[in-house]
């Protein structure tokens, strides 16, 4: 029984529960589910904000969402650290083979140590993956007006055409990067 809490959850458990956050947040306080708005709220709260886009009542508008994001950190700590799955993630054999061919050697944990250990930051590759990658996530989500949660779950959940265009573009960018850019980086 105790070991159940360490095990990963299959897609048919995690998926429907993720979908529930859209109606829960709407019913609770008329809030639209979306995580990337927090990046903007953090900018408004901490960085110089000479433009209107970054200067607004972030506490009033985004206080609830910043609390939600703080919760995500805490949830990640509980599920990924305290009750971490001791087994490697059961990815497809084909993916494991492809990633091995790219030079990934460590398949333990949620992310490969080859890219996510602190030492990875001593290489240009580490900075492209984490620095450039992170920058594009923040820049792209702000430009597109939402991320995987805001467009992919909430926007598509509301059958919004702009969200469909956004999520299709997310995948085109991601697939191209996986097949064209990653082989150059490794």
């Amino acid at each position: 029984m105790i070991e159940l809490v360490y095990r990963p959850w299959p897609w048919w458990v995690a998926g429907p529960l993720i979908g529930l956050f859209v109606p829960i947040l709407l019913l609770l306080g008329n809030r639209l589910f979306g995580v990337s708005a927090n990046l903007r709220h953090i900018c408004a709260a901490t960085l110089p904000s000479p433009t209107e886009y970054l200067r607004y009542d972030w506490k009033g508008k985004g206080g609830w969402n910043l609390a939600f994001a703080g919760g995500i950190v805490l949830g990640g700590f509980l599920a990924g650290y305290v009750f971490a799955n001791p087994e490697p993630i059961a990815i497809a054999a084909a993916t494991q083979a492809d990633l091995s061919a790219l030079g990934i050697t460590d398949f333990e944990g949620l992310v490969p140590a080859d890219l996510f250990a602190i030492e990875a930051l001593s290489s240009l590759r580490g900075w492209i993956v984490l620095g450039l990658g992170g920058f594009l996530v923040g820049f792209g989500a702000a430009w597109a007006g939402g991320c995987t949660s805001g467009h992919g779950i909430a926007g598509l959940g509301d059958l919004q055409l702009p969200s469909l265009i956004a999520i299709a573009s997310f995948f085109v960018g991601g697939i191209a990067t996986t097949h064209l850019l990653l082989p150059l980086l490794f």
């Binding site: 949830g75 509980l78 850019l181």
Partner: protein, 146 residues
């Protein structure tokens, strides 16, 4: 009860809901670079199953809320602001750039926060870079097509 303690209680509710969400996406392995690679290589069903079943719950719930003209707990009518299509450039170009970042880091914004909690210190670089990315967009916004 004072309004500030009401407000603190409100934030606590969202902190708890966020914790459940963070727990869920971590146990569901949505925050795993390996899973995102498997998805972008079309080699596994896991992530697609998550998106499909999440939408299978979200779409009818939203329809029900709209058709039933439901109100939120505080009695307000629920309104979902429609996203403005405009010329659509922001969704295509912003979306493509987001996709590049998603494939590199293996994490979109929710997972970035969860990985921070999961004790992956280097992800701090990605989180700070994402904040700077959003800030840079804010600075360039008036010059970018939307």
């Amino acid at each position: 009860m004072t309004s500030s303690s009401n407000r603190a209680r409100g934030l606590l509710v969202y902190l708890v809901i966020g914790t459940l969400f963070g727990f869920l996406i971590t146990k569901g392995e949505v925050i795993s670079w390996f899973r995102i690679q498997e998805m972008f290589r079309f080699q596994g069903f896991h992530m697609y199953g998550i998106f499909a079943t999440a939408l299978a719950v979200a779409i009818p719930s939203v329809l029900l809320i709209k058709k039933g003209k439901l109100r939120s707990l505080d009695g307000e009518p629920i309104v979902i602001p429609p996203k403005v299509l405009g010329r659509g450039i922001r969704y295509v170009v912003g979306g493509l750039l987001f996709g590049v970042g998603w494939a590199l880091t293996g994490a979109c914004p929710g997972p970035l926060f969860a990985l921070l909690g999961a004790g992956i210190p280097a992800i701090g670089v990605a989180v700070i870079s994402a904040i700077l990315g959003t800030w840079s967009y804010g600075m360039l916004r008036s010059r970018l097509p939307h």
